[in-house]
């Protein structure tokens, strides 16, 4: 029997599939549901300093190969978040995503939320929020400063979530590693837009948004492959993983764990079970006994 368990930065995950940030992960009941449905861990919606209601609708566009969204980082702020989780305990790793406009804001959030988070994922990559996310994370120096500030503020493992909207994502990964990140995750969404030909205007209220789903998979896989080649810290693969074959490709490309987001919308919660079963059957039929044995095999 092949094992699906993975261990990352000292934390054990039942399986390599983690619910990605921003997908049905607003409240604790949804995190618990994701775990019940087969996720090995959960990343929360990105939490900032102040509550934000996010952008007006339309906030999402459905496309043949995925989705474009511009939610605008809706979140209850760190105080609201702490109130919301009070009284809950979780029997799976809970990774808290945080976003800020400066290294100090990131550090502040990490400090305030360290009692709740098993690990932090730094949102250095949201492509549609002015002053946050990608606007900071496209610059390797900023990535370095943010990671360093957070590492100084918390003992929890820190994952830097990187943007693919860059000439070479390894620059960002190396900066994160140098600053002491425990892992990187890649990719966040690609900059994109959709226009309605009869309205003759961009569909999203924010005009531009982030593209996710099967259409971005080849780009995401390349990002993971490039990162895994140069980094010593683990890479968490994200981007259009929809089938178990996609998942295996990411593992072979060097991802130590995976995040699933858009596929939950496209195919329902059952994707976690289906992908886990597919990985397990693949491991067994190909003669492997654990997920970690195949991580990076395609890097040669």
């Amino acid at each position: 029997m092949a094992s699906l368990e993975v261990k990352l930065f000292g934390i054990r995950f039942e399986n390599p599939l983690i619910l990605a940030s921003g997908i049905n992960d607003k409240v604790p009941e949804q995190w618990i549901r994701a775990h019940e449905e087969g996720a090995g861990g959960v990343v929360t919606k990105s939490i900032g300093i102040e509550p934000r209601k996010g952008y007006d609708n339309p906030t999402i566009v459905e496309l043949p190969c995925g989705l474009i969204n511009a939610m605008g980082l809706p979140n209850p702020g760190w105080k609201g978040f702490l109130e919301m989780v009070e009284g809950y305990t979780f029997d799976f790793p809970l990774i808290v995503s945080i976003f800020g406009g400066t290294p100090e804001e990131f550090a502040f959030l990490a400090e305030k939320l360290s009692d709740v988070a098993d690990a932090f994922e730094l949102n250095l990559s949201c492509p549609h929020a002015k002053g946050y996310g990608m606007e900071i994370g496209q610059n390797p120096e900023n990535v370095y400063e943010v990671v360093k500030a957070v590492k100084d503020a918390t003992d929890r493992p820190v994952i830097a979530k990187l943007t693919p909207n860059i000439d070479d994502i390894t620059k960002l990964g190396l900066a994160a590693e140098k600053a002491g990140a425990d892992a990187v995750s890649a990719i966040n969404t690609l900059k994109a837009i959709a226009i309605d030909i009869y309205a003759r205007r961009p569909i999203l209220s924010n005009r531009v948004g982030g593209y996710s789903g099967p259409g971005v998979k080849p780009v995401a896989l390349r990002a993971v492959y490039d990162l895994a080649k140069v980094l010593d810290i683990p890479v968490i693969g994200i981007g259009g993983i929809t089938t178990w074959q996609d998942a295996v490709e990411f593992l072979l490309a060097g991802a130590s764990a995976l995040q699933i987001g858009t596929a939950v919308s496209l195919r329902g919660w059952k994707v976690f079970r289906e992908i886990n079963e597919g990985i397990k059957a693949y491991l067994e039929s190909e003669g492997f006994s654990s997920v970690s044995e195949i991580v990076g095999l395609a890097l040669e």
Partner: protein, 230 residues
Amino acid sequence: MVELRETWEVAKNVRAFRLSKGFDFTPGQFVMVWLPGVGEKPFSLAWKDLLVIKRVGPFTSRLFELQEGDRLWIRGPYGRGFERKWNRVALVSGGIGIPPLYALVRAWRNEFEGITLIYGARSKEELALLDIEDYVDEVVITTDDGSAGKKGFPTDVLAERRGEFDGVYACGPEPMLKAVLRIMDYENVQVSAERYMKCGIGVCGSCNLGKYLVCRDGPVFEGEKLRGVM
């Protein structure tokens, strides 16, 4: 993109909008309606090509200004609709809860032995009955002010007559749904829930109802699923 084929007033601040295109749908499902530059909101389908909408804010006010031939943008239908079950059923509707129930009886009127509509509104002028009387066996009206039918709530009627029905379909404000669920002890009842929905397709998570998402797990839920949730 569809065009507005026809639009007419149904009740005070309630209009019907007939579209140039029909959608394959299950009663209880909803669509997202986008008016470029204005916004995008979810509405239950009253029929494959019919929306019945109450004016509640800026978006619906703009909708109410549309003329025949004007365009509107629709995606969907989305979500889980009603399931056909039971023989003698009551439909409990409050406020602007009528559209999905209208769709239900129009689609399945011959599938039931008896259909009783229990419909509550604030006052007579707010009753948005359309031609639903053609599709049900009995209509019981309640109004808050007694201006039509019985003075009181539709749930009062349900509580009294509960024994007559095998099952209940309900749509309306949350306090009414809660009352229906309690009267039915969460059994033999399907309710269409309402939540603030943004994406409509299970991404944003805004419409969570406990561990459920109204846009994907609902909007129609079996009563049993809502124990401890609503």
